[in-house]
């Protein structure tokens, strides 16, 4: 049955894609739907268009809530006012669910219409893996299949007429128990390494680092869904570059000048030493505010063109807007390498723009 809503739905999609009704474009927000991943909450992008109304601003505004907390305790973002909004609101409640990284990546891919990545297939290593797909009668208790065991017990009880629907008590006995078993399977393996580089010179503020962190999280998530083994390496640089761990990467703050080429050289060295392009799919991502020493630009372009780009699947450069940076670097790259196949450049003005930049980076299907 064709639904009536399809017409409205496709019209909405067209507006979101910017095909019709351009005047509504500025009201599109990527509203959030909260999902849970591990202990962390992630939001699933959900485009929304809000028709403007007269509304109260946040200044002087407030409301009433329920729960623990002392005066002054901050509340999380995203609480609306009770009772706001006319309409026959359906009675539903948001369930907190665990979204696995795989599902998250799938949602992301679907949202952004990302192409699946074709790994460079020169070298595929076949690897044996145990998969728990089978069922058998014996096994260790730790592998007991709970649901099937109980189903069997229930079936037995019904068959022997000892089941009472009024008092639904099911007790499995020895013969009911079923256990998981495994089978080794052979499957090709593709490895990838992501090398993050970030400018930590004085002009990068915490807000910009937050943007980089979010961006990196999503790129990680996507690439992990496409490859079996992912390695990540982190490089920070100001005038000098250094390889650091993840924690340091997001929290270091240096002052002083910027020489981007130092990071590219270190990245190249890393690849040569540990990640041979024939065995690894290499992703190099660089985030900066676009401020660089003038004469260094030339060195950067040479390093990229002659070394990095010949080895990497994809080189991404994200320029976060900074109150201090001049933002020249992206234009240099644009002019010199804009045409190259495995280069993706994006300017990330604010958190809203993360969405679009991810699409630029991953939309190439590399």
């Amino acid at each position: 049955m064709v639904q009536r809503i399809q017409r409205d739905h496709s019209r909405f999609r067209q507006i979101v894609r910017g095909k019709i009704k351009q005047e509504l474009k500025k009201y599109i927000s990527h509203g959030e739907m909260i999902g849970k991943q591990g202990g962390e909450l992630v939001s699933i992008p959900l485009p929304q268009i809000e028709i403007p109304h007269f509304r109260y601003g946040s200044r002087g505004n407030g409301g009433v809530g329920q729960g623990e907390g002392d005066v002054g305790t901050p509340l999380g973002p995203g609480q609306g006012q009770p009772g706001a909004g006319a309409g026959n609101e359906p009675g539903g409640h948001i369930l907190e669910v665990d979204v696995s990284l795989d599902e998250l990546a799938e949602i992301l891919g679907e949202e952004l219409e990302l192409p699946r990545i074709e790994p460079r297939g020169k070298h595929t290593i076949n690897e044996q893996k145990d998969r728990y797909t089978g069922i058998r009668q014996t096994g260790p208790e730790s592998l007991r299949h709970f649901k099937r065991t109980y189903k069997r017990a229930l079936r037995r009880q019904i068959a022997s007429n000892t089941y009472n629907p009024e008092m639904p008590i099911v007790i499995p006995i020895r013969e009911d128990k079923l256990y998981r078993s495994w089978k080794p399977v052979e499957r090709p393996e593709a490895n990838a390494v992501i090398i993050y580089m970030m400018d930590v010179s004085g002009s990068m503020t915490d807000e910009q680092k937050e943007i980089v962190r979010i961006e990196a999280f999503w790129i990680d998530t996507w690439l992990r869904s496409q490859y079996d083994g992912i390695e990540t390496r982190y490089i920070v640089h100001d005038a000098e570059a250094a390889e650091v761990d993840r924690e340091t990467f997001y929290h270091t703050r240096e002052s002083g000048g910027t020489r981007i080429s130092s990071a590219y050289k270190l990245c190249d060295k890393l690849i040569d030493e540990h990640f041979h392009p024939a065995e690894w799919n290499i992703y190099a991502l660089h985030f900066s505010d676009g401020d660089n020493w003038g004469e260094d630009n030339l060195v950067c372009m040479d390093t990229l063109k002659e070394k990095l780009l010949t080895k990497a699947n994809l080189f991404c450069y994200g320029q976060v807007e900074s109150p201090y940076g001049s933002g020249q670097f992206i234009r240099e790259l644009q002019n010199n390498l804009g045409g190259a196949e495995n280069v993706a450049l994006a300017e990330i003005g604010d958190k809203e723009a993360i969405y679009d930049s991810i699409k630029v980076f991953l939309g190439k299907g590399k």
């Binding site: 496709s10 009704k21 485009p47 007269f54 409301g63 729960g67 359906p90 369930l95 669910v97």
Partner: protein
């Protein structure tokens, strides 16, 4: 009548369950329209929910947006619609096909609570009970206009109408503002000029000529008459809170546009009572599903599932107010207080803590009282009348406010007065600013002058500007909005090309 799943028979098992629940509900004294349940698949129920509960609405993209949110929320396992019921005679309610039987039963009990509320609460008194047909008619008319004038043009016009859909006078169904006003004006027409006191200062006889020179008196009289004449031409006579009605009546619109605008207005009035009684309505329905389910129809096999489902419905998330929870608890509190006689002067003035705590006059008026409450209150009066400090303390309620220094919402207070004030403010006029037409012929240039009744919270500026822009599409002459921003009076103006702001009398 257009139903959604006419091709699908209503299972006999459901029929039996419905009869059982309905009989119990009637025994408790619930009074409802005939209720028709339909069993829908998830796609269907998402569609109906996106349409605000109706199987057929006029074409508009925002329904598609709602649908996407609902359908996605379901497929990612984030949320699920349990019940959906519309205020209509007969009442239509929808059940989700894949729900467990126990859930269906619970939803039915909940729905009968809603149906009783729709039928009996006076704020629903003015709503059309044939809205199922009404919505279908609206849809047909709009489709007709789209065929004739083009989808884009009509849809863009609807966008503009929706921008002001909350500028209605929600109390107008209960108050005759216009007739009274006109009658008064007619009776008081042309009052003869008062003999004394027309600008005359007190004076001794011999000084009169000098204190009140005749020329000045004459000038004063003329000025007063002019004033009065001028005042008579004021348009509208009194400021008009139903901005949509004012536009339907006076905006220079084409016929189809006028019709579309009044369709949007009709639907806004139809939905308004649901927003006005959200806490009560959900509380009432939850009270009854819990009463019916726990006293009837639960077997020991069902208890755990029922408890799980019920607690999901009334769960409080930290820092958020759940209308289901607040409503059901308040109804229970009222029932308890009227059963034990904890109300009235004698109780209020008692200052012995022990006798207050053990207060029980065995009145047993609780059930009767809550039925009365569901009939004559709305959320604002409900909270105002029945929220008590003990209740708030028990429910761990707090008020929160926006802190500009930290740029986030923070817990502001747990004091009863503050909290109640915040809660009432957020419910008054659905928590939307009150805006009225002051002058439809501002400066004698046919410009529209609106006034925002400022009550402590400033408007969101960018939204206000965009809304004025949409108003201009309807009125076609410049629009002014008087408000207060940053403690200074401010007039926003949009003349069709650009926005202007006038702060405290000077141009900026």
């Amino acid at each position: 009548m257009s139903t959604i799943s006419a091709h699908r028979p209503y299972p006999a098992e459901f029929r039996r369950m419905q009869d059982e629940i309905e009989a119990v509900a009637r025994r408790y004294g619930l009074d409802f329209f005939e209720t028709i349940f339909e069993v829908l698949t998830y796609e269907e129920i998402s569609e109906v929910a996106a349409f605000g509960g109706f199987p057929n609405r006029y074409p508009h993209w925002r329904f598609g947006m709602e649908y996407e949110e609902l359908a996605k929320g379901y497929s990612y396992g984030l949320q699920k619609i349990y019940e959906m019921v519309i205020n209509n005679d007969p009442c239509y309610a929808y059940l989700l096909e894949c729900n467990a039987m126990l859930d269906q039963k619970l939803v039915m009990a909940h729905v009968y609570g809603h149906c009783d509320f729709f039928k009996n609460n006076i704020y629903f008194g003015h709503t059309s009970r044939k809205m199922m047909d009404g919505m279908a008619n609206h849809a047909n008319r709009v489709r007709g206009y789209m065929d004739k004038h083009g989808v884009d043009e009509v849809e863009t016009f609807i966008d503009a109408c929706l921008s002001i859909e909350d500028l209605i006078d929600i109390h107008s169904p209960g108050i005759k503002r216009h007739d009274d006003k006109l009658r008064h004006v007619a009776l008081a027409a042309e009052p003869e000029e008062e003999e004394e006191g027309s600008g005359r200062f007190k004076s001794k006889d011999y000084m009169d000529e000098f204190v009140n020179p005749r020329v000045a008196l004459a000038a004063e009289r003329k000025r007063r008459i002019d004033d009065k004449k001028h005042a008579k031409h004021k348009f509208p006579e009194l400021s008009e809170r139903d901005v949509m009605l004012f536009l339907v009546d006076y905006a220079p619109l084409e016929n189809w546009q006028r019709d579309v605008l009044s369709i949007v207005r009709d639907e806004a009035y139809y939905f308004a009572p649901q927003a006005q009684t959200k806490i009560m309505n959900e509380g009432w329905a939850s009270y009854w599903h819990s009463k019916i389910m726990t006293t009837h129809g639960l077997t020991s096999a069902d208890v755990v599932d029922y408890a799980d489902h019920h607690s999901g419905t009334v769960a409080t998330h930290p820092g958020r107010l759940n209308p289901y929870k607040l409503g059901i608890e308040l109804f229970r509190d009222i029932e308890e207080r009227w059963n034990t006689g904890r109300f009235g002067r004698e109780y209020d003035e008692c200052d012995d803590r022990r006798s207050k705590a053990n207060w029980d006059k065995q009145l047993g008026l609780g059930r009767q009282k809550i039925f009365e409450v569901r009939k004559v209150y709305n959320d604002v009066t409900f909270i105002d009348e029945f929220l008590t400090p003990e209740f708030c303390r028990h429910q761990k309620m707090f008020s929160y406010a926006f802190n500009e220094d930290t740029d986030q919402y923070e817990i502001e207070s747990r004091e009863f007065e503050k909290l109640k004030e915040r809660l009432l403010f957020s419910l008054t006029n659905f928590g939307r600013p009150i805006i009225a037409v002051q002058d439809g012929n501002y400066e004698n240039r046919g410009e529209l002058y609106l006034v925002h009744q400022h009550s402590g919270v400033d408007l969101k500026m960018d939204y206000a500007e965009d809304t004025i822009r949409n108003l201009h599409k309807l009125w076609t002459r410049p629009i002014h909005l008087e408000t207060v921003f940053d403690d200074k009076p401010l007039v926003l103006t949009f003349d069709g090309k650009q926005h202007a702001k006038q702060v405290g009398g000077e141009n900026k």
